[in-house]
Subunit: 752 residues, 2 copies
């Protein structure tokens, strides 16, 4: 173009040569760029790229791809047959899941075996509760298995109703004695009985399910020298519309009278024989005699059988609030039978067996492109007490669909920044065994590398999002719930969630930290890894029930989900979408999207709760330095605020290494709350700030060590009291130091 203005060939040639020189200068001079440079720029760009922010198409793709039809098909296959841990069908499903992981294009998909101690009923010699009249004639025999009510609940492999790890035993009462009714079997219930002059020692007790972990009911009875325990489902919890056939399964969402809640009932989590270490094939094992397994039999029954027993009981009337949902009978405390049954005896026979079996976890991974050594994990258990359509197969159906959708992204050339890890656990129903053993085996790696663990045990037990989680991931959950469509047209999951809270007079959803009861336990409480239990539950504004009615029964079937719990599979779709986005959000955000200030706020709020009901004054009297704990909690709040502010001002200028350094700093924050030797008296529960308290392992508690140490402190005698006071001082001091350490971790960027 310039040459036209000249007019002589020389000029053109010169101009060309000039251009050439210029290009050469441009290429090799101060501002030149080589192939090597270009590679560096590209790599650099990749290393700091916020894939989450830039990949809006992939976000939409996830929302679009999670399919109700697939979820339904998955669930149908998963719940087709009973699949108890340690049985052939559970192993088959493990292989099915592994195969799916391979098919969708995962980088790895492994079966990971552990040899563990499980407990089973003896199917050739069923557990029975019988009543005999004065001539020893059997006049009542309990059912050990649900009546078949629908083709979906008919399978010879359905395990008998039993309580895992409860002892075998054969107990017969004195003539005229039946059971003592102990309400929920809580400590306060047993205390009430004591107050009323009723001693459970030497008697069989009968408790309704609910309020606390069943293992604690058994433990409380055993500690008071009861000889056996009968657990039953109260129709007031499981049959709120009535107990007539048309009001219950297979015609509705409520439990019929032969439905029995199974469930593990030992105080131990993980394989009982390897506390704190993994049950790999050749690992050392304790003798069974060294392990505090239950020593008395415990048997669950349905409410039909429960009624048959309770209606025969005499003795004093119970407190008014002990009266449950059985219509038309008079509740009495026992143990004596009513006059007409005064020569009856009751017999509890349990033939449970302990067996060493192999269980299989399935672990699949999609390797991260930038930080393969940072893990974003999702998992749920696979084993079920029966068909397990809701628990856990609604979670597993979601896991498979989530895996499929990520497989689709992989086929498009996508790859996450961090490694995604998909886990299918076995033997959760026996005390989170599969996940616990795996965490024990990989503890150091996980504590070093895990960003977050998402658990999806019962994805769809009902329509309301009911998560419990580490405060560090709360803001992310809220953000994502706002972009996932809800069950109703035009509403998001967040809308429906918020509406639920508005009906309870709360302006927005409230953070609930983790209690126990599923596979997040080892991650969160043993490893200090920020975790979430993602579940959709029954609308408690409509029905105040703690679990869904079919929980752990033979009626937790595909039919129940397909017809009543999630027809159309919209809840599961929401769960799958939320889970998938959650994984991508934590895997692809350059800066890990932890909500640090939610963490410090929760610390402060939990500390306030510790002081509730005069306990603050008690603690101050025991330890004059208690205020220093509050001071350090306050300082932690300041430290997180300052860190967040600083991070905000520099986050766009971080180079790839500093980006990782800051992420490392945040990742280790909750790990600091782990006490290496565990909470006082609890070596396997090590999270000092958020963990269930010892005396109700279902409930979440803040600073559980303090509540545990204060528990029943007024009952202690001088010497024991003085020892307890020392433990309290020591623990408060430990907590103070631990919060100081957490602040220290955030002070300055990456410098002591």
């Amino acid at each position: 173009m310039f040459s036209r203005n000249g007019g002589c060939l020389a000029a053109i040639v010169c101009a060309f040569i000039g251009i050439l020189i210029g290009v050469l200068v441009g290429c090799f001079g101060v501002n030149s760029i080589t192939k090597e440079d270009q590679k560096r720029i590209t790599t650099y760009q990749k290393l700091i790229e916020d894939k989450w922010a830039s990949e809006t198409d992939e976000t939409q793709m996830i929302l679009d791809l999670i399919s109700p039809t697939n979820l339904r098909n998955n669930l149908k296959e998963l719940s087709r047959k009973p699949h108890l841990a340690g049985t052939v069908r559970d192993d088959e499903l493990a292989m099915l899941i592994q195969r799916r992981f391979v098919e969708v294009g995962f980088d790895t998909a492994e079966l990971v075996p552990y040899e563990v101690l499980l407990s089973y009923p003896n199917h050739t010699n069923p557990n029975l509760i019988t009543m005999m009249d004065g001539s020893k004639k059997v006049v009542f025999t309990s059912k050990f298995k649900e009546e078949v009510l629908h083709e979906d609940d008919e399978d010879p492999d359905l395990v008998h109703a039993f309580n895992g790890y409860s002892a075998a035993g054969d107990v017969t009462t004195q003539p005229g004695d039946g059971v003592i009714y102990v309400n929920y079997g809580r400590v306060e219930d047993f205390e009430k009985l004591e107050e009323l002059g009723i001693d459970v020692a030497g008697h069989v007790v009968m408790a309704r399910y609910g309020k606390i972990f069943r293992g604690n009911k058994l433990l409380h009875a055993e500690q008071r020298n009861a000889t056996g325990v009968i657990l039953f489902s109260d129709p007031g919890d499981v049959a709120l519309k009535g107990t007539d056939p048309e009001d219950v399964y297979p015609n509705s969402n409520w439990l019929p009278g032969t439905g029995v809640q199974r469930g593990w009932a030992s105080p131990l989590e993980g394989d009982p024989l390897t506390p704190g270490w993994p049950s790999t094939k050749d690992a050392y094992r304790l003798d069974e005699s060294e392990v505090p397994l239950p020593k008395i039999p415990c048997q669950p029954i349905g409410y039909d059988d429960a009624r048959a027993i309770l209606e025969k009981m005499g003795g004093r009337a119970p407190p008014r609030d002990w009266i449950g949902g059985m219509k038309g009978i008079k509740y009495n405390l026992g143990p004596e039978m009513l006059g007409e049954y005064q020569d009856y005896t009751l017999r509890l026979q349990s033939h449970n067996l302990l067996r060493n079996v192999n269980i299989y976890n399935v672990i699949g991974t999609i390797k991260g492109s930038v930080e393969p050594d940072r893990y974003v994990l999702i998992g749920n258990h696979r084993d079920a007490w029966g068909y397990g359509a809701v628990d856990p197969s609604s979670g597993t159906a979601q896991l498979l669909e989530t895996a499929r959708v990520f497989g689709q992204l992989l086929k498009k050339g996508w790859r996450p920044r961090r490694t995604l890890v998909f886990c299918s656990w076995s033997a959760e129903e026996y005390g989170m065994i599969g996940s616990t053993e795996w965490v024990e085996e990989h503890l150091e790696k996980l504590q070093e590398r895990a960003v977050v663990y998402l658990n999806t045990d019962t994805c769809a037990a009902g329509p309301i999002l009911t998560p419990s989680l580490s405060p560090l991931i709360w803001d992310s959950l809220v953000k994502l719930a706002k972009i996932v469509p809800g069950v109703r047209e035009g509403k998001t999951v967040y809308d429906e969630w918020a509406a639920y809270y508005r009906a309870r007079n709360r302006s927005s959803p409230q953070l609930k930290t983790l209690g126990s009861g599923s596979d997040f336990a080892a991650f969160a409480f043993y490893g200090g890894i920020p975790s979430m239990e993602l579940s959709f539950r029954t609308d408690q504004n409509k029905y105040r029930i703690s679990k869904y009615p079919f929980y752990h029964t033979g009626y937790d079937t595909f039919h129940a989900v397909d017809k009543f719990i999630d027809p159309g599979f919209r809840i599961m779709q929401g769960c799958g979408r939320l889970a998938s986005l959650f994984l991508k959000y934590f895997a692809d955000s350059a800066l890990i999207p932890y909500s640090l200030q939610q963490l410090s706020r929760a610390v402060g709020e939990n500390l306030n709760k510790v002081k509730d009901k005069g306990k603050g004054a008690t603690l101050l009297k025991i330890y004059d330095k208690f205020p220093l704990l509050e001071e350090s909690a306050h300082n932690f709040m300041t430290a997180t605020a300052m860190f967040a502010q600083k991070l905000d001002s520099v986050k766009d200028t971080l180079d790839p290494v500093m980006l990782r350094a800051v992420n490392d700093q945040m990742m280790k924050l909750e790990r600091v709350f782990i006490m290496p030797a565990g909470l006082p008296g609890r070596p396997t529960v090590r999270h000092a700030v958020f963990a269930p308290s010892q005396f109700d392992s279902y409930a979440a508690a803040g600073f559980p060590g303090i509540s545990d140490l204060l528990y029943k402190i007024d009952d202690l005698q001088e010497e024991e009291l003085s020892k307890r006071h020392k433990e309290i001082r020591r623990h408060i001091s430990d907590l103070t130091i631990l919060l100081q350490k957490a602040s220290g971790l955030l002070e300055d960027f990456n410098l002591i």
Copy 2:
């Protein structure tokens, strides 16, 4: 140049325009480069740069700058006055060091206080050993302080000779009884006495220093119900040229008869009142009564006094090898005195006091430019029993000079890739208290971020490099020793080191892992941080002595170092050069220069040692799965070899994040060897592979848990034996799993 070939202005103009176009194309075309790109290239380059390899000038500068004159001046000031922990002079020196760190340009320099329980003699009521004749007339009184022999050892603040934490007490023997001579006070020595029918119960025992930690001598005596302990320095250890004045200090390198070795003698490390947690101001503390401090008095004396006692002892003759270096006396075992002293009594009075005092560590840092959150640490203690010219001031003099040299580099614009941390500890002499409390306070941060800890306690006690270290840093030490000049012209430190080993018929220097006895203990054995004790010691080919003669005495003075131990300060110069290069090597190498294969080799060798002397057969008999431990050690060797090979093939292509990921992977390797709850029965010693065994804390041991559990196993009765067997099985299983975890950490690059 090209325009000259044309000839018309247009051509020149065109050519210029052409150049312009060319430059513009070069800048903005396909191959163009923006300012932003340039920044990315530069940053990227910085992030992967191997500063160690590229900065040969700086390496030379370090070698040139470490100055004997400065080291001498430093030492003179540091050893001018006694500076016992918790005294004004130790605090003054802390402030001096802090000031120096500031002056040379460190980014931070802090005094870090801890309130701890120390032990002191009562200077107004000295500890005494006396002998009285039959008329109660005192005929002998021990010296509680060295005689002044040179101006450098004259100071009223020199602490009396005593053994830290030994109990106050006043013990008088029966008339005619003196002491029982117990040789080195080892278990085998006490067993020998038992064999000879001599019971130490109710008697004062007298042991020579050496072979094992003095605290163990006291413990052994206490366990056998002795009433007091006298420790003395054997002239055979400390005065090898004779005891005449011309052969000893201040005229030579040997100890005179009034020199007394002080030293802490409790079984505890760290502040006795806060085991496992830091002694910050408001931390909870145990009561003194809850702590297993020694319960009987223990007093050290010089060999003049020892002779005065021993020469009066009667009783049986000791085994031949118990006879020490005192010429002209007949050794007898006691407790009875020789005939002429048969109405004599011996009295041991100790007035030691426990005091809560503040001690100060000094922590200085030079912030890393690329990875500020990765720490390369150097430290040694500052407190001394007296003037402490060798122990620890030779190390401190080096620390200050090393700091100065890095300050010089900083002034040139240099900055390390990783953060350098300089530590001056207090109260090491009381059980590594300053370093232990600091590690306890910063444990999580250090386990996350520390690359290596270098300890330089006694930089110059003699001319021979005598390091003990984690195998992970062995290759680096060897490499650097080959570029540091030695004491003799033309020789390197390595040459002199290798010559020492050649004289012992070893073709090259041999790796020695860490025993106990200095501030690396908490880093290595509690935290699992690869550590090295860098020291130059007496040439054991010339003199087979365990410590240098002035160790812990009032004659460890500047005069002694300046005249006899390191005249010209060439040893200290070598130590300073080696330490500085070591810091720079680990701070600046892009890939952390760990020698992984030395680690796995050492694991294998130590496991072989565990099987020595038939112990392999014993272990196999106790636990049939013992071979699995060997298998896992073997697999660990394979895993490290494969990792090293893989790393070698990719190391030049790693991007900055993967570079860091691989470094993280290696950094965590030794951490895996830490058992959270500690070795069996030893909560504060947690390193399962390299740590001192329980019964001789000076010596390094491989798999100390196994040796500890096998110790005296033949003496156990049935029930205890069965319990011990279980512990052994459990521990071997734990070790097997732990080695599997270590292999797992290396398998694949950064993927489970």
